[in-house]
Symmetry: none
Amino acid sequence: MTVTNDDSAQYLIRTVSKRSGVKSDLVRAWERRYQAVTPTRTSGGHRVYTDQDIARLKLLNQATSNGHSISQIAQFSLDDLKHLLKSETPSTVQATNNPLPTTRDKIHLAEDYSDKCYAAVLAFDAQKLESHFENAIVELGAESFIEHLLSPLLTKIGERWKTGELRPVHEHMTSSVIRSLTYILRNNNPCPENAPRMIVSTPIGQLHELGALLAAIMAELCGWQVTYLGANLPAEEIAAAVKYTNSCALTLSISFATDDHIVAKELRRLKKLIGNHVSLIVGGRAAGHFQPVLNEVGVMNIQSYTHFKQLLNQLAAEYRALDDNNRQ
Amino acid sequence: MTVTNDDSAQYLIRTVSKRSGVKSDLVRAWERRYQAVTPTRTSGGHRVYTDQDIARLKLLNQATSNGHSISQIAQFSLDDLKHLLKSETPSTVQATNNPLPTTRDKIHLAEDYSDKCYAAVLAFDAQKLESHFENAIVELGAESFIEHLLSPLLTKIGERWKTGELRPVHEHMTSSVIRSLTYILRNNNPCPENAPRMIVSTPIGQLHELGALLAAIMAELCGWQVTYLGANLPAEEIAAAVKYTNSCALTLSISFATDDHIVAKELRRLKKLIGNHVSLIVGGRAAGHFQPVLNEVGVMNIQSYTHFKQLLNQLAAEYRALDDNNRQ
DNA sequence: CATTTTTTGTCAATGTTTTGTAAAGGTTTG
DNA sequence: CAAACCTTTACAAAACATTGACAAAAAATG
């Protein structure tokens, strides 16, 4: 049984765009130039699409971001497209050259969205927040969404939380919305079989999960196979997860400098439990407070968004090289 | 529930509007433009609708907020519309014969999936778990998925956790996967504008969120507009969320009888903070341990899956009636 | 390697369709 | 008689369509 409905389901182009992740203009362009889809029309001339069309555009979107030329694959059947995507390595996210002219516009757009999203958070309007996020993902693309919208937004929320403009519930609500969005983001970027694995969580006592959530999403986008565990877990549990999944990296977010003892103790225990072959990465607002322990334990400390991305790619490369050697 | 296909039950447009959530003007517009409904008339010319018409408008309302174009689906049959929305809302129609999968088959299938899912949990394989869930949702439909798969699975996890077969991480991982599935489930079942609102969370000290998650999903499926806050929140925060969202119900899950004092205290504080006009619902494995407090505070205690569903529908009906009165 | 050429995503301008809402003025109902 | 309905007409915002053009990226060519 396939996911798609029969032909009775009819959508207008904006819905198709939202669901497939392809901008409306581009949907039309693909139809005009390559007949990638052939929607029926209303009496007034508006395009009307089926569920199949949406599935098709979703796959085409994935395939093109994997490097395929749209002109070559536009007329493939659904099965052909699925087959194409199965036997493929994922999109490698380049961390390098960013300051392109198009990026500037995106940054502007992202700021715009960021304001709207923050307003929704402040108003405690989960529905609106989710809606803004959805639109932003389509317009910005997953990568830019994270870098220029999500990342600064979470920083802002963290700050406002300290000043008292926001309450803890605001953060919980936001986490909840973002968590359910994970599904769309992951959908755009299926990860391969042999991807390096990572656990993301928060040590015990650390209740704020926004940072961890961001890290998890970023890692997934960089081609990692991430298992996200949520916040506030004791070292033994996290270590167990690392073993179960055979992960080669563990990322923790520490955003609040509550009790130095606990965090330090947990970090030391964790390192002992997971051993040296697993990379321990720590980030978050308050990570700096624990610098001595971080150094002692041998933690990779995240400095910035870009830094984390570099780290992710670097580690993934190392892991792949290691993996190749083992196989030979 | 049951639908009286009785022709004797006839309604005027204001009633139809209230029950379906479609404004009177719009009901007329849909009739004039697309013949979405074709009510009979009184001798004087007033429109007279049947229960079927109401059901129809309800579905059309849902479908449009789901992205379907009203002009395209206005003339669909009731069955077509139901099929379009795939997951059937319990509060609406279920009376017609289900020609496709028997309930018995579904239960069997669900058990099958349940086993697979539990195996994935045990093996700590988040990807496989998510994949099973996805397939199950498609095959079973959202409702059956929750009743016959998710609900028993979570119970099982709770039990196995107590015996030590599963660790806390297993539960965290499962929560994480289910949380990201929320997106699909919600998408299948968009809630109307005037839906009653509910907050779902877990009182401070209660770290297990699976029960709360299930409650949230069920409530959404019953037509509530749910804001899910995650676990472990102090009374003030939860109460703030209730106020922000103007919720008329609050559901808490208590699955672990840690410290009687804290939970009891939190419940009392919560009741004070939210007042009497907000329904306080409590469920979960360990809810029974707090029976005295629950009685004292005036809590509705969830007894079972079915009971919760009844409660949800009943409260929603009460709220709608109240809302109607306020508007008049 | 340097130049075209092609591909591809994006945008702008301009006109149309869709769709929810509202006002005006008459009719029915209780 | 007041409240609720009815019909018609109109309106405006959002969403679409079409055409044509542009520029970056990729590919082909010299």
